[in-house]
């Protein structure tokens, strides 16, 4: 982790405490460049290119053809000068013939240029989308423990930035073939035209190469610094925008402006430095070109004068010289592109190689709606880290149609138990049975249809209210969605939204209150119409009015279903058929409210504290 923040020098440096103010945030930087060539990465990427290998071949062929036509044009000019326009205008036929050849060559050039760019461009785009799809679909299968510990932002930068740099790499790779061929071709043609003059002119080439190699390291450092300064500055701007209410509320605008000024100054200086580095190459290249041209004129000119070579040869040389710095420039750029691509490719393969822990067994059978709707834990032991089990030898049974409340202090393993029912993770010992079958023996998709789940934090997608409630239950009609919304008491507020059910929700449902989002997630579970409902009750405080609606909706949701509820509210707990009390991963009590009260154990103790919610009870009172 690096700190990229501006610190303004303390203006009151008189022994007062140091200033604790920064703008712009701490950023985690990733390696931008890898090795130039990483065989493993290349072979993984090749898998994605393989389906397009004929197109790659076609593109390379087109690039070569294109390069050949580029190379031949100065030669044609040379030929025309030396043979088609002898003073005295004797044979117009030769010139016409040469022009005809020229016309054919430029026609080929046109076709080759078209094919090369179109095929390469499309192929690179396709590969980009293929890699992204493969990664995305892989992420749908990898274990949730991987997803839990990986930031979404990090994955997104894999799916966007890293894939993009692979695309850039593919596209430029094909074109690099052309650059190499062009360079080789120019050298070869020059030597062929006149090897002595050729050698003489080519002496500037190694000089340029050395200068370029010396330059690129420092230049790249300057470019990176500018890029970095830019993103730090932009980061600070984004922070100011997102946190503007806090900034104004605490009157920090003045100081922030000063701090931001430092960043902007730094950014300015970094960009000027980068610009100087980029521009310094211009006179160097022009000087070398000048040397080469002067050599051709002096030496080549003398050779023409002494009639050792034709004047057309000299003209051709002058044309080639103007071109031969281009491929060198592109090729040195390609070096950075490759390094960047290797680093990105390495990160991509890391994602693609994340193991899939929870998978359908070969021959897994689907659960059918006819299957029983019971849930059973048989001696289950489970921990995200097997060394530290979260659940220890837990056994219980929820009969079809029964509602069971799981209660217990924070960290007792309630949420893990719920995740196991859906087979988000596999148990280390024992078994979880749904509908009388081990969850590992049935297909995950059918398990998903058999169980509806309501998470503690309601999660909404961008889209209309209708789409959110229906979610993946495609077959539910609009009326079914409406009915579900009515059943959970969400219909009224939905109707009051600007476009009713067609209102598009903001990101994460930002235009709804927490309670309303909760109700929508209930409706979503109701539409899914599964036999078993697993529900993690929200702990956050919702205003009493919405709370009331939610309590009613919950009752409606549990009607005719098997319910396994992680309950926080006393009202919910009391409505359950049975209560299971967990503590530190072990089941310590089980029974109805009355039975547990008689037993006078942990439950009775918690209940008698008379809090509206178990979660409100201070930890020291629960004795955990």
């Amino acid at each position: 982790m690096t700190m990229n923040t501006a610190e303004v020098r303390d203006p009151h440096d008189d022994g007062r405490p140091r200033m604790r103010a920064v703008v712009g945030s701490h950023r985690i930087e990733e390696e931008m460049f890898g090795r130039v060539f990483d065989g493993k990465v290349v072979s993984r990427i090749w898998e994605f290119v393989r389906p397009y290998k004929r197109r790659v071949a076609l593109a390379v062929a087109a690039v070569l053809t294109f390069t050949a036509t580029q190379l031949s044009i100065p030669l044609i000019v040379r030929y025309a000068i030396d043979h088609g326009m002898a003073p005295g205008g004797v044979d117009g036929g030769v010139l016409a013939g040469i022009i005809a050849v020229f016309a054919v060559v430029i026609a080929i050039n046109y076709a080759a240029s078209w094919v090369q760019e179109a095929v390469t461009g499309r192929m690179a785009e396709n590969v980009l989308f293929d890699i992204r799809r493969k990664m995305f679909s892989h992420l749908q299968k990898v274990s949730l423990s991987f997803m839990d510990k990986t930031e979404v932002g990090r994955l997104m930068s894999r799916l966007q930035g890293d894939v993009n740099s692979m695309q850039e790499f593919l596209e430029t790779s094909v074109l690099s073939v052309g650059d190499i061929m062009l360079l080789v071709g120019i050298v070869a043609v020059m030597l062929w035209l006149d090897w002595q003059l050729g050698l003489l002119v080519l002496t500037v080439l190694p000089i340029l190469l050395v200068v370029r190699v010396l330059w690129i390291k420092r230049a790249r450092a300057a470019f990176l610094a500018a890029h970095e300064a830019n993103s730090v500055t932009n980061g600070a701007l984004a922070e100011a925008i997102h946190g503007v209410r806090a900034v104004q509320g605490m009157d920090r605008a003045g100081l922030n402006q000063k701090l931001y000024g430092e960043l902007v100054d730094r950014n300015y200086r970094a960009h000027l430095r980068a610009s100087r580095m980029a521009q310094i190459m211009v006179p160097i290249v022009d000087t070398l070109t000048g040397i080469a041209m002067a050599l051709v004129i002096v030496v080549g000119g003398s050779m023409v004068v002494s009639t050792r070579i034709d004047v057309g040869v000299m003209v051709a040389f002058l044309f080639y010289i103007q071109r031969f710095f281009d491929p060198i420039r592109s090729l040195t750029m390609q070096y950075s592109v490759m390094q960047r691509a290797m680093a990105s490719g390495h990160r991509l393969t890391e994602v693609l190689d994340v193991a899939v822990d929870v998978e359908d067994k070969p021959g897994a059978v689907p659960l059918t709606p006819e299957d029983d709707a019971g849930v059973e834990f048989q001696d289950v032991t489970f921990g995200y880290n097997p060394e530290h089990p979260i659940l220890k030898n837990v056994s219980f049974k929820v009969k079809s149609g029964e509602t069971v409340a799981l209660v217990g202090p924070t960290g007792s393993g309630k949420s893990s138990a719920m995740a196991l029912v859906h087979r988000f993770y596999d148990v280390q010992q024992g078994a979880v049975l749904v509908g009388g079958r081990d969850v590992r023996d049935v297909t995950q998709e059918s398990l998903g249809r058999h169980i509806a789940m309501v998470l503690q934090e309601p999660y909404l997608f961008t889209g209309t209210v209708m789409e959110n409630i229906r979610y993946s239950t495609h077959w539910a009609s609009d009326d079914a969605v409406r009915e579900a919304a009515e059943a959970v008491g969400a219909h009224d507020f939905i109707e009051r939204l600007p476009q009713g059910y067609d209102t598009v929700l903001d990101e994460r449902g930002g235009n709804l209150s927490l309670g309303q989002r909760q109700l929508l997630s209930f409706a979503r579970a109701l539409v899914a119409d599964a036999r078993i409902l697993v529900l993690d009750e929200a702990t956050a405080n919702i205003d009493s009015y919405t709370e009331m609606l939610i309590q009613k909706a919950l009752q409606r949701l549990l009607e005719g279903r098997t319910g396994l509820v992680i309950a926080h509210r006393l009202a919910t707990i009391r409505n359950a058929d049975r209560i299971i009390v967990l503590q530190q991963g072990e089941k310590i009590e089980e029974g109805s409210h009355d039975a547990l009260m008689r037993k006078d154990g942990l439950y009775a103790k918690l209940y008698s504290l008379n809090y509206a919610s178990f979660d409100d009870i201070p930890a020291e009172l629960t004795g955990t």
């Binding site: 200033m19 604790r20 920064v22 701490h26 580029q70 044009i73 000068i81 040469i98 020229f102 760019e117 179109a118 499309r122 396709n126 989308f129 995305f136 979404v152 930035g161 596209e171 062009l182 890029h227 993103s231 701007l237 100011a240 925008i241 509320g249 605490m250 009157d251 920090r252 402006q257 300015y268 000027l272 610009s275 290249v285 022009d286 000087t287 000048g290 041209m293 004129i297 000119g301 004068v305 004047v311 000299m314 003209v315 044309f319 103007q322 281009d326 988000f424 998709e445 998903g448 249809r449 961008t462 979610y471 209102t503 929700l505 956050a540 405080n541 009331m548 009613k552 509206a612 979660d615």
Partner: protein, 645 residues
């Protein structure tokens, strides 16, 4: 020779299209709720051409603020063009020289050396002047960007809440990043380039045509076509680029929401549904990407062909003239070299056109932001608030949000609170509690009535002093991505450690912080350790306490804190409450029943008022709410429901 490929790799393409790959916007522009015309700074909305033009004028004027560098850039451009144009002429002369002198070695060598040395000098001069031109032009852009960044930042920090309510933060970021970039590039890619191309093409054409009108016209024949195709291509690419960004944003959103909501996706076993969404979004973006490749390929190939065709014509016609002895081989060589030199700039005309288009739309958006009036601002000559007695007074305060057709969210609220008093505010959702609280620090200005502290109307004092005197613990507190201590000391960066620890203890945060591996130096926020809702609220309370305000407002800021911790915070704050007015908005009555007075708000009006006991005795709405919360039993639920309907 080789036709340049102006579109190499996506980096270059992105630069030409008007952005960098690093700064792709991920904000969601499609499908926004509410009236789309309400949204400022939409990327896809067209800009009025008049506005675009005045934006260009304004940017041009601003660049003149750096006259030295502008002059150097323009003069260098002139010299660079002169050097550039003399190269073909020198070429031609060298060729002719060799032919005239054929056989005469000694004399030939001397004149050739002279030409070669001139050519070398000209070439070096071209390099140096091009460097000077590019560097100074870019530096003008960077200097402009430097100043604009500061102006944008300042503006954003000063624009009131009402502005930020109706502006999408993603759009604002885009204005500050991409639009600013478009304006920055204006001088080097539009203005200087226009001068460069005008001189190069103009003088070049004049030289060619005066040398030989027919051959000159033939050599230039590709220019109009290439200029037209290049401009048309760049404009189409720019337009489709904006659409592509939108499609990519949708794709990103599908992926991002899927990954962030992966538990829901798994819970509903809906990965197939999600892949369907992904494929649909992906196909849309890919199709457009392919279209863009086609647009590019079609045009660049056509431009190359036009160029070569013109070259073929020059070679043919010129060749015949050489054969007829009308012109020399050197003149022909001059023409051909000229063409190769003109080729690149002509093909890049589109970039210049694009730069104008980009600067005018970007500039229009940027200036719209910079010209936005700051509605809540210091009056001219406003003085600092002087807190003496510490009395807060609200006098018939009403407030209506902009665009609510005058429907008031707060109506005729009056209140006087003295130092040491605690006032509770309660009421159903949407009853105006938060709105009322936001009027006191002038997050919004009251529509009518007045608010004063110690007799000074809050509109007559400086905002800075007011906001030090009135501090709000927000419902949803924003944490800055920095250390916990920096966050706590946000409003008082020079605070001593002791005070930071003190407020942190009062907010019941200290023990938690000590448990973190890096204690108070732990980085929190968006890219740091994520805190739970309750921890965030505690941190928010701590940083507000640092301000030691005369009026301390808790805006439903303990909802995510458990009751036990909240009661400890309450007792810790008892000492603080003695020195100031405390206002508490809460849903949970436990949070405010100790208040000296409680206001019950309904539809923006105070409908009940008194102490907890008085309100219970009154047997009205407050009592009903109290019963609901204290006895969460089914029978009360039904009772409440009847009462509510």
């Amino acid at each position: 020779m080789r036709a340049a490929r102006p579109n190499r790799g996506c980096l270059v393409r992105a630069l030409q299209d008007g952005t960098f790959p690093m700064t792709q916007t991920t904000d969601v522009t499609a499908g926004e709720a509410g009236d789309p015309s309400q949204r400022l700074f939409r990327r896809t909305a067209g800009t009025d051409p008049g506005q675009g033009f005045s934006a260009l004028v304004r940017i041009t004027r601003m660049t003149l603020g750096y006259p030295g560098r502008v002059a150097v850039a323009l003069v260098s451009t002139l010299f660079a063009v002169a050097a550039q144009l003399s190269i073909p002429v020198l070429f031609g002369r060298a060729v002719d020289e060799t032919l005239i002198l054929a056989g005469d070695d000694a004399a030939g060598r001397a004149s050739l050396v002279a030409i070669a040395l001139t050519l070398f000098a000209v070439s070096v001069a071209r390099g140096l002047f091009t460097m000077a031109q590019n560097y100074t032009a870019e530096s003008v852009g960077h200097a402009l960007a430097h100043d604009l960044r500061l102006a944008v930042y300042d503006k954003i920090q000063r624009l009131p809440f009402s502005f930020h309510d109706r502006t999408h933060s993603g759009d604002l970021i885009t204005v500050g990043m991409l639009d600013l970039e478009g304006v920055r590039m204006y001088f080097s890619t539009a203005l200087v380039r226009t001068v460069l191309l005008t001189l190069l093409i103009g003088i070049g054409a004049w030289m060619l045509i005066t040398t030989d009108p027919l051959l000159g016209l033939l050599a230039l024949s590709f220019v109009p076509f290439a200029a037209w195709r290049s401009s048309a291509m760049q404009l189409t690419l720019r337009r489709t680029w904006l659409v592509l960004q939108e499609r990519l944003a949708i794709l990103s959103r599908v992926m991002e929401e899927n990954l962030a909501g992966i538990r829901v996706v798994r819970a509903f076993a809906s990965s197939r549904h999600e892949l369907g969404k992904f494929d649909a979004a992906s196909a849309e973006a890919l199709a457009l990407s392919h279209d863009r490749v086609s647009i590019r390929v079609k045009n660049t190939s056509a431009m190359t062909l036009a160029f070569f065709a013109a070259m073929g014509l020059v070679l043919w016609v010129g060749g015949r003239q050489v054969a007829a002895g009308e012109i020399t081989v050197g003149t022909l060589a001059t023409f051909l070299t000229f063409m190769t030199i003109l080729q690149m700039p002509v093909r890049q005309l589109g970039l210049m056109v694009n730069a104008y288009a980009r600067a005018s739309t970007c500039g229009a958006r940027l200036f719209a932001l910079l010209d936005m009036p700051v509605e809540v601002d210091d009056k001219p000559g406003a003085r600092d608030l002087e807190v003496t007695e510490g009395t807060l007074r609200l006098d018939n305060v009403s407030f209506a949000y902009a665009g609510s057709d005058g429907r008031t969210a707060v109506t005729d609220v009056s209140l006087t609170a003295r130092r040491g008093e605690t006032i509770g505010i309660v009421g159903p959702p949407g009853s105006g509690k938060t709105t009322l609280m936001h009027l006191i620090p002038r997050y919004y200005d009251a529509t009518s009535g007045s608010i004063s502290i110690d007799g000074q109307d809050i509109r007559d004092v400086t905002l800075s002093s007011l906001r030090h005197a009135v501090a709000v613990v927000q419902q949803d507190s924003f944490l800055f991505t920095t250390t916990i201590e920096n966050n706590i000391a946000y409003g008082d960066p020079y605070a001593r450690d002791r005070r930071i620890r003190g407020v942190s203890e009062s907010a019941q945060l200290h023990d938690y912080v000590l448990g973190l591996p890096r204690g108070y130096e732990t980085v929190v926020g968006e890219r740091g350790v994520s805190l739970s809702g309750g921890q965030r609220q505690r941190l928010s309370i701590a940083r507000t306490l640092m301000l030691e305000p005369a009026v301390l407002i808790f805006d439903d800021s303990t909802a995510a804190i458990d009751a036990g911790t909240e009661s400890r915070i309450r007792s810790a704050l008892r000492g603080y409450a003695a020195d100031r007015v405390t206002l508490i908005v809460a849903h949970r009555l436990n949070s405010l029943m100790h208040a000296d007075r409680i206001l019950f708000l309904e539809e923006g009006r105070v409908v009940e008022q008194g102490t907890h006991e008085e309100l219970l005795a009154l047997g009205g709405r407050y009592k009903a709410l109290h019963d609901l919360q204290m006895r969460p039993e089914g029978d009360v639920l039904d009772e409440m429901e009847e009462a509510a309907t």
